[in-house]
């Protein structure tokens, strides 16, 4: 089985539905994208510069946005840049962050996740991923 066959199929399906075309660039970018958990357009631009020195930055942005529309990627605004997350990479953890000592504790809670699904469904959304950060004071810093 070819690498990333399933995602490639998802992309082609999306392209077909919207009268879009399957191009060498889209294939190249998808391949690179799926190898990582998340990436910025700029990072990808540099990564692919070796394989295709003429690949334009605008094409990368356009293609990553296309992946979002196809449900393969998720855009997240991080600081001043946009990070594109690979949706097929699962494993998400949430964080408890101490605002005083910056200590970070990871946690996972199925009940919260279930409620998130409910809220999303109520609003017509299908969740791809989420981000939950709880900011507060840890026991040590409270004293």
């Amino acid at each position: 089985m070819a690498k990333h066959a399933k995602e490639m199929e998802t992309l082609k399906e999306h392209l077909g539905k919207h009268q879009l075309k399957f191009t060498r660039q889209r294939e190249l970018i998808l391949d690179a994208f799926l190898k990582q958990e998340h990436i910025t357009a700029e990072e990808m631009y540099h990564q692919l510069a070796k394989k295709d020195p003429h690949l334009g930055l605008a094409t990368i942005y356009r293609t990553l946005n296309l992946f979002c529309e196809a449900g393969l990627a998720q855009a997240r605004h991080f600081g001043t840049q946009t990070q594109y997350d690979n949706v097929s990479h699962k494993g998400h953890h949430d964080h408890l962050i101490c605002t005083s000592c910056q200590k970070i504790v990871e946690f996972e809670n199925c009940d919260i996740e279930r409620l998130q699904e409910e809220v999303a469904a109520k609003n017509g959304f299908v969740i791809q991923t989420h981000r939950l950060e709880l900011y507060g004071l840890c026991s040590r810093c409270r004293h």
Copy 2:
């Protein structure tokens, strides 16, 4: 008791600790900031234009960032803009964000908040604020 006395005190404490000064502009901006749940620098610029036509946009950005450092505000990157959240505001809401069209839906869920408190308590934390963002596809972008 004066309006926002507690937050004003927090700000002055922060200023004192860092050899910064208490200015008319900082007081004006804090007062306006605390009246709302969240705001962008641009919005505040227009709001305050009547009260002080000479107040510069750069000062607003600088001051809102100062509030973040003092723990009064929290910066959140939404689309291309930065939104500054009022940490002291109770009626906190979370966000559903479409990864395709960037549409944002606000929601509030007491059950989730209660579970967050439980998780925090279990880890010895006391929550000050939190950030919950659900990323996915809205009903329109799914078709």
